[in-house]
Amino acid sequence: MSNQLERYKYDVVIIGAGGAGLRAAVEAREAGLSVAIVCKSLFGKAHTVMAEGGVAASMGNVNESDNWMVHFRDTMRGGKFLNNYRMAELHAKEAPERVWELEVWGALFDRTKEGKISQRNFGGHEYPRLAHVGDRTGLELIRTMQQRIVALQQKDGRDHGDAEKFIKVFAEVTITEILKENGKVSGAYGYRRENGEEILFEAPAVILATGGAGKTFKITSNSWEGTGDGHALALKAGGHLIDMEFFQFHPTGMVWPPSVRGLLVTESVRGDGGVLTNSEGKRFMFDYIPDVFKDKYADNEAEADRWYTDQANNRRPPELLPRDEVARAINSEIKAGRGTEHGGVYLDVSKRLPADVIKKKLPSMWHQFYELAGVDITKEAMEVGPTCHYVMGGAWVEPDTAAVIDVPGLFAAGECAGGMHGSNRLGGNSLSDLLVFGRRAGLGAVEYVKSNGANPVSEGSVAAAAAKIEAPFNNPGSENPYALHHELQETAHNLVGIIRTKTELEEAIAKIADLRARAKNIGVSGGRQFNPGFHLTFDLDNMLLIAEAAAKSALIREESRGGHTREDFPTMSSTWRQVNNITTWNGSSIAVEQKHLPDLTKELFDLFDIHELEKYMTSDELSQSRGGSN
């Protein structure tokens, strides 16, 4: 037990200070609540900072034909119709408002000639749709949100004499547990990374906005923070995760040098004309256009090249297929022996755009390759390969309120929530997701707090949470947390990676169970003061849950769809399309249950060409929906 326990009381505690967390904070504060924002890193360093390409919203600034219905269709297609339709609908409808609102708050997006927000092409989006700031859109988004928080704090300072009275940021704090009393959320417990001192937040509502879980895998674009904390906290609090088999392997991560392997190469490179070639110089993506997309993508280079200047009369280049398709294609080329020296493929934008335009449109890509790989992308091709980038699976939530199902008082938004993206997320839909559902989680919490007062934390809960934090220091065990993490990453990468099989998944489940047993013997060296080995012990526990949920869900889903490819079940199954995998944690292992996906409403069903839906749905579903109830 630490010397003294810091105690705070708030209306809402938000865990995570990326785009979703900050947007939720603004909403909750503007509605009059007191808000604690808790983050593992310094304020402003959240992974949102790394988002490059842009935020998808059908403002129609570049092509007036765009609207929410087109965006909705693209999102459902990208997710192979496994998306929660209501989330996809809300997202498509509200994204433009959220982008304009950012602009009002001071975000400076790149412009069209008419002075409107410019929009760029991206994979799977029918029209130019991504509002962007060069290739550092996430940085602008997070700074704008940071400024918005500071503005609200300054207003509180003027009105109430204390800027931190109603919104306070607790940087470098890790939350280890969501506390509950009488079946409802009562607060959150954790420790300060700086000194290991423990900290208690009493609050009737908690919003999870912790982002992703990429650090479970060996090759990833995620920072150290992406350890699935929100996913794990939701599970441990009695919530469920949905569709955890779906991980997005972004097609283009750096592959060389090894030190930067996995680091993201933005999809904008392809959106702005970059082409993928193999070691034989062949532009191979033409060989990988799946049947469901054949009428939307060019099958020859001439048409693909014309599309950049004439989108009305030509089909899109296949480099701009959804990410799962491109990642699998690259994987196949490398496996077939047509990879580059360092095990990737070539991505070249130097032949398409002049050097000064590349430096202007893709400044951080130029810098990243020049500084870290010694490659000048204005003159030569990049070497790229798939990298674990995003988890589509996440906390199972109510679409409208972001409330975590079965845990009153708990909410989740952004990457740590599931359902919105189905089996595969389109590029640009993440920043819009976290704005739309960050706001909705804030609103959800506001409504909840209004009708549910404070729920005091019992001393028993505090003592139990404290004992868990103390445990690794009292453990005489000899396991090294860094080594176990490394083994987990190898296991996830090799056995639960882009291409999966039954035997490998079974092997993974056994290995993860073994790692969990060994994790009980982690002994931590050093004291509580800023001790990364101690910190990793808790992060590792979360990643073990992520890996187990992913492997078990992947084993059950006997089909290939989006971010889940089974070598032994290589095609999509319209029966499996109707199924969500729902995971639950009983304290010692993960159980997976199947639940029927909510049916599209008649209104949304009618937005699609029936012949397109035939590719995804069973004939029973089609005849039912066509007759359509709401």
């Binding site: 992974h47 009002v104 002075g115 503005a151 040098p257």
Partner: protein, 214 residues
């Protein structure tokens, strides 16, 4: 090619500490942050260092390498001679918490003193019209990743703790540039926005900023 790298790393906290010599393997293409992590994983499990993106975009891993303020993730191992011992110490302008981690809260406090941008009351969502050339001028200030290396370089606070109370820091320029140059206008105003023109409300905001500082 793998090589052995000799490092001298600060270990300690605000009360005491000193430089510790370690030898660690370094591979082709690695940066200083990679070798720090290898030391952490294999030799000193509780070695404290901040980092996030490992791509020069978040500004977390600021340290001093051979006395120079650097991002550990953007400093190549290959830039040092194999015979050289490379010294890694925490930022000197800020109090040490532990090892390579310093207390940078000073920067957040100072940032809070600059009045945040507030939009013009009559600007409606979707109505803003700006020209790229105007946007770019302010965007330049927004590339700051808040690594605080400029603060660490500035001798006014690096060598004189007593100045921190009243001195506004180099990052003030960035805060002002960011807030003061936003070229917002909107189409309900009859004039078209001409490139290079700053709107009157921005000038007002500038004046508010300077007043709040004086």
């Amino acid at each position: 090619m793998a090589r052995t790298m000799k490092l001298r790393i600060f270990r300690g906290n605000s009360k005491d500490g000193g430089l510790q010599d370690v030898s660690v393997e370094a591979n082709e293409g690695e940066v200083i942050l990679d070798v720090i992590h290898r030391v952490q994983a294999e030799q000193i499990g509780d070695l404290a260092v901040r980092w996030n993106c490992k791509a020069g975009k978040c500004g977390s891993c600021s340290v001093e390498i051979n006395g120079k303020p650097r991002l550990a993730c953007m400093t190549q191992v290959a830039s040092f001679d194999e015979a050289e011992t490379v010294t890694i110490t925490p930022l000197r302008a800020f109090p040490v918490i532990k090892d390579l981690v310093t207390d940078v809260s000073f920067n957040y406090k100072k940032a809070m003193e600059v009045r945040a941008y507030e939009p013009p009351a009559d600007l409606k969502p979707g109505e803003a019209r700006m020209q790229q050339i105007d946007v770019e001028r302010s965007q330049e200030f927004r590339k700051c990743i808040e690594c605080f290396l400029c603060q660490d370089t500035c001798h006014v606070i690096r060598d004189h703790e007593e100045n921190k109370k009243s001195f506004r820091r180099p990052t003030l320029l960035y805060s002002l540039g960011r807030a003061g140059h936003a070229p917002v206008g909107h189409h309900s105003q009859s004039q078209a926005i001409r490139p290079g023109r700053t709107w009157p409300w921005n000038v007002q905001h500038h004046q508010v900023l300077y007043r709040s500082l004086s």
